[in-house]
């Protein structure tokens, strides 16, 4: 890791610390201050966007553990989110569970179902696994749509607000705090997971699974563990999403969403902690931008085809995914590293 001059590693604990220098600490405290005072000066609309970004970050972190660290391509992430969302909807809405219990249960349900669909990963990889997870996506959504007594079927399901004790997260601002705290915990978890034994085992499996096995890494265990953790986080994100929107429908968890999550992880940078955060923020802001700009464009240029508003979004995202893969496969996180290195060395480039 690149560090400014004069930062020395006096002991192991300091070597491992995430925040190493005074500047790190100042930036970190500044970020915390900005994020946690945000509800004071952001409008409700932007708080909603920020909430969605927070939820997306959690899901993207889960997917990043699966794809970025462990190298297991999953194209069914939205499906696993759907499991989490519906679990909490049924548990809290119909059975009267408390919110936190529902949240944990959604994580575990999604994790275990992810484990089942991840079983083929023990034997196959690459494209085969991708297809299996696509199949998982379709089967999950089909079950949700057709298991009407429990999930409400095509009609959908109402979800109560999140609540801890007597406090109900009704306002956008309170939801914002809830989501941001959980997202921050997830980021911390991801950072520490990646640095520990498990994360290193994942990386070994990703880089060469045969060699990893020879080194004494239990392939089946770690691949399934990656599926479990990735889908667990997807379940958490899905549960938060359910409480956030208040009304569930399988339409919110399509194959396109799954692809979009993969896009976020790629754009952000595979196998980094920062990557999924940046990717989620960029894609969601891009969506906002498109939502803002396309009616304007349609108003100014009446000759545009009628499908402009709905079609332009997927086109832009597809294009962004392709361009990033071709020109910057290591993603925004890599760009950020380069920027930091350049900034540190400026004005000398060596």
């Amino acid at each position: 890791m690149d560090l400014p001059c004069g930062t020395r590693n006096y002991d192991y604990a300091r070597d491992m610390a995430v925040l190493r220098t005074k500047t790190h600490w100042m930036l970190f405290i500044g970020l915390l201050a900005v994020v946690f005072t945000a509800p004071l000066y952001w409008s409700n609309y932007w708080l909603g966007v920020a909430n969605l970004i927070g939820i997306t970050i959690i899901a993207a972190i889960g997917l990043n553990i699966l794809i970025g660290y462990c190298g297991q391509l999953s194209i069914g992430h939205a499906g696993f989110m759907a499991i989490g969302a519906y679990t909490t909807a049924v548990l809290t809405g119909k059975l009267g569970f408390p919110f936190l219990g529902g949240l944990i249960c959604s994580g575990f349900t999604a994790g275990f179902i992810g484990l089942i669909f991840g079983l083929p990963s023990v034997r196959v990889k690459g494209f085969y696994l991708a297809i299996t997870t696509i199949a998982a996506q379709f089967i999950i959504i089909w079950v949700i749509n057709h298991w009407a007594p429990v999930t409400g079927g095509f009609v959908g399901l109402k979800v109560p607000y999140a609540s801890i004790g007597d406090f109900i997260f009704r306002s956008k601002a309170s939801q914002f705090y809830l989501i941001m705290v959980i997202a921050a915990l997830c980021i911390l978890f991801d950072k520490n997971l990646a640095r520990g034994r498990i994360g290193r085992a994942f990386i070994a499996v990703r880089d060469n699974d045969l060699a990893a096995e020879v080194m004494g890494i239990n392939l089946a265990y770690y691949k399934l563990l990656a599926f479990f953790i990735g889908c667990f986080l997807a379940g958490i994100a899905g549960a938060l999403f359910a409480h956030w929107v208040g009304f569930l429908n399988a339409e919110s968890f399509t194959l396109s969403d799954s692809i979009l999550y993969i896009g976020m992880v790629i754009i952000g940078g595979l196998g980094t902690t920062l990557g999924p955060v940046l990717g989620a923020i960029l894609i969601r802001l891009l969506q906002q931008g498109i939502m803002y700009i396309s009616p304007l464009l349609e108003g100014t240029f009446p000759t545009l085809p009628a499908g402009f508003t709905t079609g332009i979004g997927p086109m832009v995202f597809g294009l962004v995914i392709i361009l990033f893969l071709v020109f910057e496969p290591r993603g925004l996180a890599h760009r950020w590293m380069l920027f930091k290195a350049a900034y540190r060395l400026w004005p000398f480039s060596y």
Binding site: F127, I131, F138, L260, F308, L319, I321, I322, V326
Partner: protein
Amino acid sequence: MAELLQYTITGIAVGMIYALIALGFALVWKSSSVANLALGQLVLISSWFTYGMLVQAKFPLWIGFPLTILFALFLGWMIERFTLRPLIAQPILSLITVTLGVAYFLEGLVTFVWPVSVGALPRFFPQEPIYIGPAVVSQEYVWAAGISLLLFGLLSLFFKYHRMGIAMRATADDQLAVQACAIPVTSVFSTSWMFACVVAAIGGVLISSIGGVTFGLVETGLKSFSVVILGGLDSFVGCIVAGPIIGLAENLGGGYLTQFIGPGIKDIIPFIIIIIVMVIKPYGLFGETRIERI
């Protein structure tokens, strides 16, 4: 009995179309080991293009179809040239995800140009149903199966005798050796993509002549993944054998299981088959089992 026969015949016919689309996948996989996850969207966009040519621009069949084929060729060339060629020798993850990006883009393009959700192609097959024993089958299915079989035959001949076909098989076998023999590997790649797109386009037109042009075509394309998986990724024979099996399973299952499980079971049978094959025999019926060494 009549029901059974009917399901069987429709199943085999639809399965042949799946097999045709799957062939496009196997083609690309064999020559360049790129997994084309945009298959469904290729089917979608070429069917809509046909709709645009035949219904919106009102071209007669004999202009509209060649235009569709040309469009498919162009599409295949574009995809290979601008997304896959820059990624040659990148990890397989990038190769798979870039086709996902293409899929996303094409889907957006379709909603962009054709915002209507359903379109009907003009009828180009005779309307009278055919009576086979006690079963009544509409002619479209028979024609679709026939055309698919014919294309299979032509493609097999192409691979057996044509220079390009032989070059493609050789590339599948060993890229380095092929380059040493002065065969341009990149043009083999782009040819295989063009072929894949054409095959997907024809499959799409056949399917949508039966069921209309809708967004469900994406799922049709995705269903042909189950054909590929069941037959084995790198096997043409696998496609021809597995296609009708999937079609049969889908139609028989849809016919007889609906009353027990509920409507729509037909749509996920191929995906359930994928999971089962993955657990039991991941390399498919005819696929080559890979043995890896460090």
